[in-house]
């Protein structure tokens, strides 16, 4: 498979994932963890960093193996590689940051099916060089972390009155924000805010079905790629 032509500079590869193509706030991907682990800002940060590590690792390995993996088993191969990195991050957290490991719980393992990682693998890493893939992974991961931090900070600050554990306004907290409904609500408002700032009309569907790649990737018999 020939490598894709790209006119982006290396710096642009890194930065595009931060704001302009932010995977969660613009691409509307990876919303499960964004809703689930953002009760507290420090968990949000931890999840973001863990996902970024997996993203960089999987992008690099998939890019390295891009000429070797056959089309027919592309998706299972990517999934196995991603699962491998997720498990390694689990080891690291369990041994060195156990509070984060317990706080993230099942969602740490669920990084495996985070649409962002599989999406970047199929959309980018399999067609670009290792360096570019690593930068792309880093940029997207950091963008995801930013989105998580934003939602997490709002939820913790207004829901529990603390920020990163430091008490700020505990008297006026609206505790429903730290529960399930609050997650949906805050994320909706944040995305609406981003749309307002960017003056754009968002795609009406989220995740795989809204992804511009949906037609081609379903056709390539691998399923969702974003």
């Amino acid at each position: 498979m020939a490598d894709a032509e790209t006119s982006c500079s290396l710096r642009q590869e890194l930065c595009k994932g931060l704001i302009r193509e932010n995977p969660t706030l613009v691409g509307l991907l990876g919303m499960c963890p964004t809703l689930a682990v953002t009760q507290e800002a420090k968990n949000a940060l931890g999840m973001g960093i863990a996902t970024t590590l997996v993203l960089i690792g999987s992008n690099v390995v998939i890019s390295l193996l891009r000429r070797v993996i056959p089309q027919a088993v592309k998706l299972p191969c990517y999934i196995v590689i991603i699962a491998g990195f997720v498990t390694m991050v689990e080891f690291l957290l369990h041994g060195f940051v156990p509070e984060l490991y317990t706080a993230l719980g099942t969602f740490l393992s669920l990084i495996t099916v985070n649409c962002i990682i599989l999406g970047r693998a199929e959309l980018f890493a399999c067609k670009h060089t290792v360096i570019r893939s690593a930068l792309d992974g880093a940029g997207m991961g950091l963008g995801f972390t930013l989105a998580l931090l934003l939602v997490g900070s709002v939820r913790e600050l207004f829901g529990a009155g603390t920020l990163f554990g430091i008490s700020v306004m505990e008297q006026n907290a609206v505790s429903v924000l730290t529960l399930a409904p609050g997650g949906f609500f805050v994320l909706g408002c944040v995305i609406a805010l981003v749309n307002r700032i960017a003056h754009r009309e968002p795609p009406r569907t989220a995740g795989c079905t809204g992804c511009p790649n949906a037609a081609t990737c379903a056709a390539s018999k691998g399923g969702c790629s974003q």
Binding site: Q39, E40, L65, V68, I69, P70, A72, V73, P76, C77, V80, I81, A83, G84, T87, M88, F91, L92, H94, G95, F96, P98, E99, T102, A103, G105, E156, G159, A160, T162, A173, S175, T178, L179
Partner: protein
Amino acid sequence: MRESIKAPLVLTVISAAVCGMLAFANALTADKIAQTEQAALQESLTQAFGEAEYTALPQQYEGIHQVIRDTDGRLIFDVTSSGYEKDGQHLLIGLDAEGAVCGICVVSIADSPTQAAKVQEDAFLSQFLGRQKATDAYDAIAGATKSAQGIQNAVNLVLETYQTNKEAMTHG
């Protein structure tokens, strides 16, 4: 023909390679993980029940991770209970030599921060101290009902298990 063999072969090779790497990573980190867990447990024990010589009992009881005995004859039960999150509460419940609750320590709790704070307040936890029998009546907390129920259930489980297995635990 070659193509249809190449695909599953590549998948198998990659899977095997990943398994190998994980086995290697596991070997590297297993000790550290065990160490961290032990240290965390020791710290919780010392924090809640003071410095002492703690030994884990080998017997396993349903619903309880492990039972730890200290030199004073106190029994500490390591249990997981469900508040809002299933199995989200990790508790250490201590019974003194007479079988009365002498301390409850919340090791970790997955419920939301406000509820977690409420159930860890002394005003709530102190109602369980001195209990010797499992009861259904307890004072709940408004706004943290399920979290409070989780702790109540855990205390009942501990007391019931103690009643049934008293002999084995104190002299085993």
